[in-house]
């Protein structure tokens, strides 16, 4: 089971890359995806998360083929 991960804006700059792919396990949450990829870096406060381009909670369970995104508060308009 594989999940595509994307980072945007200041978070992408801080991490030094725009995307990842991770072999996810059954029942893995959005929070667990972050922890598996960045065990040394706590998820910055106020980080927003999306699954398949819909806002998601950290507790949401991911499925095979999902696209998970992490990004800072939005500042458009």
């Amino acid at each position: 089971m594989s999940v595509q991960v994307k980072y945007f804006a200041s978070l992408r700059d801080r991490l030094g890359r725009a995307e990842d792919r991770i072999a996810a396990s059954e029942g893995m949450t959005v929070a667990a995806v972050w922890a598996a990829l960045w065990p040394e870096i706590p998820l910055p406060p106020n980080t927003l998360t999306a699954v398949n381009m819909e806002y998601a909670t950290l507790e949401q369970v991911v499925r095979d083929g999902d696209e998970v995104a992490f990004f800072p508060p939005v500042t458009g308009g």
């Binding site: 804006a9 200041s10 700059d13 995104a69 990004f71 939005v74 500042t75 458009g76 308009g77």
Partner: protein, 145 residues
């Protein structure tokens, strides 16, 4: 209803006039048009800003803009709406966003225009990076309004 991202400068008043004139469903029916235009300043949080870059999440940004306009259409009796938002590189005085709403009467147009703008600022995935004399910085949060 139209939602569009632009990666080059645009003239909001020309866009508004063209869209209104070319939308046959509006002709003879609207009594109120409310518009909001957001424009890039040459300063922010006590620093001069010479350039701004607007990043977005392709796919998610368009989806959420459409959803915000649809929510406004459910809440108020609207005839039409147009949202154009810039991405890419901007200079001071460049328009960032146009929100235009047409309705039969002013209350719906005013309220829906405000709603779309506030929802856009809190939900549509855009991020601003500013170039200042001290270097480039990400805008951490929006001003209260």
């Amino acid at each position: 209803m139209k939602v569009e991202l632009r990666d080059t400068p645009f003239d909001p008043l020309l866009e508004l006039g063209f869209y209104q004139a070319s939308t046959s469903e509006l002709q003879g029916r609207f009594g109120a048009t409310a518009i909001f235009i957001g424009t890039m300043r040459d300063h922010n949080e006590r620093a001069a800003v010479s350039r701004m870059t607007l990043e977005h999440y392709p796919g998610m940004t368009e989806r959420h803009l459409r959803r915000i306009v649809e929510a406004a259409s459910r809440e108020w009796s609207l005839l039409d709406a147009l949202v154009i938002h810039r991405v890419g590189e901007l200079r001071p005085d460049d328009p960032i966003v146009l929100v235009a709403v047409w309705s039969a009467h002013r209350a719906a147009a005013f309220a829906a225009c405000r709603f779309i703008m506030e929802e856009l600022k809190s939900k549509a995935p855009f991020w601003k990076r500013e170039d200042t004399p001290e270097g480039s910085r990400w805008v951490a949060h929006n001003t209260p309004g």
